[in-house]
């Protein structure tokens, strides 16, 4: 019996103590007609060796593509130590740290994580993480509604140059609470969202204004001007950022005269493998004044009975297990294991290492664009500054080209034509520090062949 330690003797002795003739009698309170007559779809159990064979075969079926796709999930080098330590049983199989004295490892690590995320984003407080970037954005808007006493309209200015799936998640999570999203258009030449695009909504008294830096197309926005405009309207500024980019870019806490109010994003680039889209983690940092409106777990430093420092969950009065229907959110977990990985990852890279990763990713993407736009009919869609993603226009439909590239073992990027039809045959590409010059040459050759 897999994972069940009971011997026949154990079962006999335990039933005798209980006074039950057999284990079936333990279910005597369940109406007989409800008892399951046997499962049909579940296959018979397998030994570990057999499951290993099956999973290795399935993994081999999918193979490994040379990856030039970002669009919310970025391939970076992850130090070997990160997951070796993260998957230690003491982290891997621990519960949420309710019993603080028996969870100081996880709690101290989360406090270190909160410190690192504040440092990276230039904000004053951080929670212990959210599910992913998109859900963190959605929760940040609900937080803004709770926090903004001036503009309580529930109207949110949301840039169109935003990951389309983020927009969908925001809609699914927030609509029942009366939030209304107003899309802010981007400029089709620069791919950026000018402050004028925001200021056309002068007078609507938005509760929150979202600024994505870099935006979904990898372009860099004039964050100072937009932040100052939004604050002048009485809105809270929600910054949506890529954490690796912050090694190079001005942190949201320094945007404009007063800084962004809330900063969110997906923490995946900090040590989480691509892994088919998850598990990743979302981060959420904010100004100190908003701390009581934050969703999710928060760790605080305190002292024990002997006056020694220790760490504990704090501000739990915001949470569902205390406040029930009046809680700030129904969230009761974070993505603890991913945050463990991210904290180790940031410690191993440091600010200098993260800056090298960011710079190499920018550099490689620029090299990729140069190589691909040398192909006849391929052009860069936007001009101006960008981070490590860019949009290309192809001379023909993107989907069959991506199929042809996949046949050459290349994941060529994300086809934008469905979500952004106004851009034509547009393709979002990315080359992180993990792409070599040979990889880029291989992509160029395969694309040339596919377009020939």
């Amino acid at each position: 019996m897999p994972f069940i330690p009971h011997t026949e003797t154990d079962i006999r002795e335990m039933l005798a103590v209980i006074g039950a003739p057999n284990t079936d009698a333990l279910f005597s309170e369940i109406p007989a007609e409800l008892r399951c007559k046997g499962l049909k779809q579940v296959p018979p159990g397998l030994a570990e060796m057999d499951v290993s064979r099956l999973m290795r075969a399935r993994a081999a079926t999918d193979g490994t593509l040379i990856n030039f796709c970002g669009a919310g999930a970025y391939e970076h080098h992850i130090p070997a130590a990160v997951w070796e330590i993260t998957t230690r049983g003491e982290f891997y199989s621990a519960y949420t740290p309710y019993q603080a004295e028996a969870s100081q490892g996880t709690l101290q690590l989360l406090y270190e994580y909160q410190t690192m995320m504040c440092a990276l984003t230039g904000m004053e407080v951080s929670n212990a993480s959210m599910y992913d970037g998109a859900s963190a954005l959605a929760e940040s808007l609900l937080m803004a509604v709770r926090a903004n006493a001036v503009n309580a309209s529930g109207k949110v200015l949301l840039p169109q140059a935003l990951h389309p799936y983020y927009r969908e998640v925001v809609q699914a999570v927030t609509h029942a609470q009366g939030l209304r999203m107003t899309p802010v258009p981007y400029d089709v030449h620069s791919g950026t969202t000018a402050v004028e695009a925001y200021s056309q909504f002068y007078g609507i008294a938005p509760t929150a204004v979202v600024i994505a830096q870099p935006n979904f197309f990898g372009r860099l926005e004039d964050v100072d001007a937009i932040t100052d405009w939004a604050h002048a309207q009485g809105a809270l500024v929600v910054a949506l950022v890529n954490p690796v980019s912050l090694a190079l870019l001005k942190p949201p806490g320094e945007w404009g005269a007063k800084g962004a109010d809330i900063c969110v994003g997906d923490g995946q680039p900090l040590g989480a493998p691509l892994s088919s889209g998850g598990p990743y983690f979302g981060f959420l940092t904010a100004k100190q004044a908003l701390v009581r409106q934050m969703p999710g777990r928060i760790i605080g430093r305190t002292v024990d009975l002997d006056g020694r420092p220790g760490y504990a969950l704090t501000l739990q009065a915001r949470e569902q297990h205390i406040r029930r229907s009046k809680a700030t959110s129904n969230i009761c977990t974070n993505q603890g294991l991913l945050v463990t990985a991210a904290t180790i990852h940031m410690s191993l890279l440091g600010a200098d290492g993260l800056e090298r990763v960011a710079a190499h990713s920018m550099h490689n993407t620029a090299a990729l664009i140069t190589a691909l736009t040398a192909i006849k009919g391929v052009e860069a869609v936007f001009s101006g500054s960008g981070f490590h993603e860019a949009v290309l226009r192809l001379p023909k439909a993107v989907a069959p080209v991506l199929e042809a590239l996949a046949a050459q073992n290349i994941l060529g990027g994300f086809d934008l034509s469905r979500h952004f039809p106004e851009l034509g045959h547009a393709l979002l590409v990315c080359a992180t520090e993990t792409r070599s010059a040979d990889d880029i040459a291989a992509y160029a050759a395969a694309l040339r062949a596919a377009l020939a």
Partner: protein, 502 residues
Amino acid sequence: MSLAPDPIKRALNGGAPAAAEPLIFEVSRPGRRAVAQSPLATVAVALPAALKRKTPAALPQVSELQAVRHFTRLSQLNFSIDTHFYPLGSCTMKYNPRACNTLAMLPQFLGRHPLAPESHSQGFLACMYELQEILKDVTGMAGVSLTPMAGAQGEFAGVAMIRAYHQARKDEARTEILVPDAAHGTNPATATMLGMKVREIPTDAQGDVDVEALKAVVGPQTAGIMLTNPSTLGVFERNIKLIAQIVHEAGGLLYYDGANLNAILGEVRPGDMGFDVIHMNLHKTFSTPHGGGGPGAGAVGVSERLRPFMPIPVVGKAGDAYKWLDERDLPQSIGRLSTFMGNAGVLLRAYIYARLLGREGMHRVAEFATLNANYLQTRLRERGFDLAFPTRRASHEFIVTLKRQKQAIDLTATDIAKRLLDYGFHAPTVYFPLLVPECLLIEPTETEDKETLDSFVEALCAIWEEAKQDIAFVKGAPYTMPVRRLDDVRAARQLNLRYQPG
């Protein structure tokens, strides 16, 4: 496992707790770094001055060994399933098989981009499709979506589907969700997030939902009811068919909170009980790791009438090929709850676990979880502890109440919880459910052996004995952990949420 008396002795002798580990920022030195972990060459990149970072982020500056040693030492300050018995009620802290981790971390699975083409995803998609089918079978539901990233998000998806169902039928007056007073706090919090009004239903003296009270409150405003079965009181809701009938006849739907699915896996199916929608905590019943508080996975199952509303994406099959189904296939979907398809790596672990257990293994989970709980319950009753529901069978968990000990010698649930740590046991869930005073909610799970359960009984008895002799001593526990009881009030009043040097 033998019970050494040394926790007490060490404490009385002023014994040494584990050494504290400094913050990583305190061992950081300017100019130090783990050189091998980033590109060796530097490249110059051009950015507009106004957009550039002016001062480097204050991240740690440590060597690779310093980081490895620091985080390894931190791990050693934790209790975990791999190191300790964790009888944490309602949390199902069973063994997380190592194979599930090893195989989910095969390089191709880790390297697969979420937007990879279906042509290069058939292996992964096959696992997800089969997991959907397995979960449909064990829950008796017509459809499954795997995308919710935690139990609370599964609840959100479930209530959102109930709401969408009524709205699609133009039955828009249904804005009330019924929740038993024993329910998890997430239930009412979730209903509120979806703009629903929450109404609590009382529990009767035997731990069942008060059916008369339920009859009195259902009506045209009822959107649905959220139930856990077995309930958080550790007993099976015997009137479930009647409850289903009352709610359905009133036009409401039934939501099954899968927190306690481990108790009935393969024995009773929520679909057969009349539930319309359920969420499963795969990090409980399907043994994916809790990871110190996540990631979880909160897959949802639905009856036929809720299938059109499932969160996307879902994995479908056309001929021999697996494919993603999105809003083009499910135009009435409640939408997307995660950027991609939820916690895929967690789902792979759940799939591997399900294949290891197989058909016979599923019902053995419930069988032995129930055997362990009833054995532990009986042993504790024999030793003089009071059960909250002494006439009831335990499900996979049960409740001990310390009301009598509190009155007699001021021994509280917190005291027992903290002192158990010195004995090498994680505490049970305490003070939940809120209905039972000074309660310990105890869930041993099926993966624990009899000897461990026996030594847990001895530890509880020993602590009770200690308390009779010297309650102040017990109230000072724990003594052998890295820290003693922490000042939670100070943590909340003098907020210190990040390290600030100087």
